[in-house]
Symmetry: D2
Subunit: 297 residues, 4 copies
């Protein structure tokens, strides 16, 4: 395939940019352009069950409302994410308080690089979690807990997931403030967080899928969990990943999707693309461009 | 502090190398040298409870026996790791089968970059897990499950942990082959993996610590889990992390330990050092050098 | 500043996307949004002399035509780049032959990751360079050599630079195929490449600037050369850099622009932004969006 | 090849560590172990001409004395480096002044991440350069200029190179303080820095080599220049590179040595190894371990 050169046009929208990247075809441009084409296939077919896996500070970095939109548009069928994203989504919904104060610690704030959350927000969150947990008892799956949280929030991707019945799995959630409150609550209540139950649920979803696709933002447990589930049906048919991790250290987070074929986590004939970059920039670009391509307004 | 220049000596051992790096003091050398000094403090005091957190392919990459040694020497009081490391430790103990076949997929093998595991090894592992799980019932914590695995293995860090009563926590274990077998087993048995129980256990360990230190290899859920626990007592007193992740994307994995102070995950006066590098090279160097310094033979 | 959440709109163009990133304000989004605002300032004022520094495979990766456009629009006043970009620009103009054959060596092609150039293209290039050099004698600066090349090419950024009288400096050019042919030619001709003369020229340009800005793609010698020249007037007033290099290793390539203030390469009150990412994706996005903002069609 | 596990020994020296890494064989350990074996071959044969290429802050980071040692031991036959390393070597020799003041700008100091040089040191350097340049006239190659500098310094790798007649090439030197002083001096003196002459000299060295090896620290112009020269004889026979750059962006700095085969910069049957890491840590480890292996005291 001939490599073309990028041509600026004053009327270029995001889809036009992605098409131009695909036309260029080389190196980073080619990877982005091919990823857009694969995402278009995932999103334009009713046969593809789409998993969105998210590690890293997606919500702190401003992507919560985009995830909400994807859920409401029916573009993702399940979300697998870290506890931190769940917490930040709830924090946003409970008062919208993230501020950008630069790369330094500031008294009274917890810091995520250049972005800060007032510690008092966590008191609200604690109060909120107590209410949520007080209405639950016995064995509760993670997706049920997160739906229960979503129902009580006025915005955010948890709320959208609750409204739309889209499962949110968070297999590593115990490392977060949700985990902390679950632990405290379960000390003197009949409450048991049943993370294994989510595996049943995801397995059913994967078995029933005609085709399976994944959008992988960052690596870590969410990526592992999705790829493990994909093994149950011989692997993913489509996958797009955006990562800053490199393959040579051997972590699954940085592993090329091609490597997944050796584990039957990715089908031999799957269409896959890896974009090397910060997904806080690349994903809104990619998702928005493909949504434009599909005529979503 | 004046920066010195590195001076070769024919009789330099690993401790000597780390001392020379500390003497140089600048950039990568300085970070390594300071990390060695902090690790020496953690390891030479009986008052410091030391958590080892491990994400990424530590065992596939050859560090299982070193972890075993650290446990047997009493140099780590708890290990927090991914399911994958647990699986690979058991695979090693069940037959010692990892081979290096280059950066390509090879029929009949699962691949971790340039290192391969025959798929038949996973059949042995399945058989092993069935035996382990058949002897357990009711609510079982992750550390109990892993001790039970360790008891049945002839080598590896799981065995050492079982022998020494050192807890292994693996809060994200459900993303792994252990998770898969737990899920299958719990479908028709009274078996419930109780990951929250490990939080009680770790909390006790942290509360009882006079001082708390962490050795952080890679980031991800193990790092988050340890730092979350450290919050319960106002933060870590000592920490050394080795990571390839960068801070600007905002992930906790790449976050400087300084940032942890804003969350009270790290004490204001803590001694901390971050080394940028592949821990499969840096950690055996660092750990061995400090063990030499302490006279361990 | 409050962090906002990214909001998709079906009619979003590239400028709209950059504005939305600025509105989000946090982490990668914030850095991109601020960079756009700084670039807008550089480009909308007649008082700012703008240096474009380019290391890495910009032209192989498809950016040659964009650079051409920037030169023709008067948006850059000088370009400082590697020999490789000069060579690939000429290769494109001499026949347009870059193909994408995947991440593997293919007989008869030189490879740049997933992009390939037939070795026969270099024969054309050799012939071309002989003609160029045969018309030159005595002391010739790099910018004069490159203008002479540009005049004989029908397209590309060298041609645009020759047409517009924009200097291209390539202080490390001897590491490239141009360097090779210069070396061969100067063995038996009175031809002397005078790279120091370009320093005079750039110094004049910098001294005459009311304000000085830099667009820094990758690091390496082009970045160093520009920042060294900026010292002559007390530093850059504006700078935007896009890099994958990290600061901790201490290379200038990965150094934050803030560090440049300690060398008076960047003014204390300069407006600067660093975007962490692959400039083959980020720069066409950023440049196109800001060109849209300025009404360039 | 079977992957082994790392085994600590209290009496392990640096060579023992590298051998243990080679025995492990997987991932980072394997790459380091293989690199040691290749370096051993380069250094133990009289037939191999060894080029050392150095980009990035090697001397600021403390490696100047190690380079000096390698030159004096006859382990490198030519050095290709950046202007910055030349400058810092001279600064060290003129007064030994680099201090580590942390990751912040400090008045009166130029900063390299966490390492600082007082600006007054550059006044000494200016005086030194004036003396050096006043004794030179006409066309002077870079290696001659650097030898002339070396002769007047009491220590450092420039001095060792001058003593031993080992050429130092610095094809991008004009981006540095040496470049600045050359430029100022040549404004009113008959002095012409002839960088092309170094290409003749390096070409002769390469043509006369029975076998050619390269130690590549960082990428950039030094790596490019060495690999370009290697093309003249069909490529390198041995190469070890240590880099933090990644291959996907397509820069030569991050390119695997395998890619060099497509350009005949590396022979098809060459022995090569890439280590991903900070060479300020990895290179002193690697070089010292192999020197121990060769019995150098």
């Amino acid at each position: 395939m001939k490599r073309e050169t990028f041509r600026y046009r004053g009327d270029m929208d995001l889809d036009g940019f992605l098409r131009e990247m695909e036309r260029v075809g080389a190196l980073g441009a080619g990877r982005l352009g091919r990823a857009a084409r694969i995402l278009e296939k995932m999103w334009s077919s009713d046969d593809v069950t789409v998993l969105l896996t998210v590690a890293g500070p997606a919500v702190a970095g401003g992507l919560g409302e985009l995830f909400e939109r994807l859920i409401r548009e029916g573009l993702v069928d399940a979300v697998i994410t870290s506890g931190a994203n769940v917490v930040h989504d709830a924090l946003d919904a409970l008062g919208g308080i993230h501020v950008c104060l630069g790369e330094r610690n500031v008294d009274g704030y917890g810091r995520v690089h250049d972005t800060h959350i007032p510690t008092e927000a966590f008191e609200k969150f604690e109060h909120f979690m107590r209410e949520v947990l007080s209405d639950l008892s016995g064995r509760v799956s993670c997706r049920e807990l997160l739906w229960e949280m979503g129902k009580r929030l006025e915005s955010g991707f948890l709320r959208a997931a609750a409204d739309e019945g889209v499962p949110i799995y968070s297999p590593g959630i115990l490392d977060s403030m949700v985990g902390l409150h679950v632990w405290i609550h379960s000390q003197d209540h009949d409450f048991h967080l049943d993370l294994v139950d989510d595996m049943h649920h995801l397995a059913d979803l994967v078995f029933e899928a005609e085709e399976l696709g994944a959008i992988i933002l960052g690596g870590s447990v969410p990526k592992h969990f999705a790829m493990g589930a994909a093994m149950l049906r011989g692997g993913l048919d489509y996958a797009v990943q955006i990562t800053m991790d490199r393959p040579e250290t051997g972590s699954l987070s940085g592993a090329p999707l091609e490597e997944g074929k050796s584990w039957e986590k990715v089908r031999e004939d799957a269409e896959v693309a890896t974009i090397v970059g910060d997904y806080l920039i690349i994903f809104p670009l990619l998702a928005s461009g493909v949504m434009q391509r599909l005529g979503i307004v």
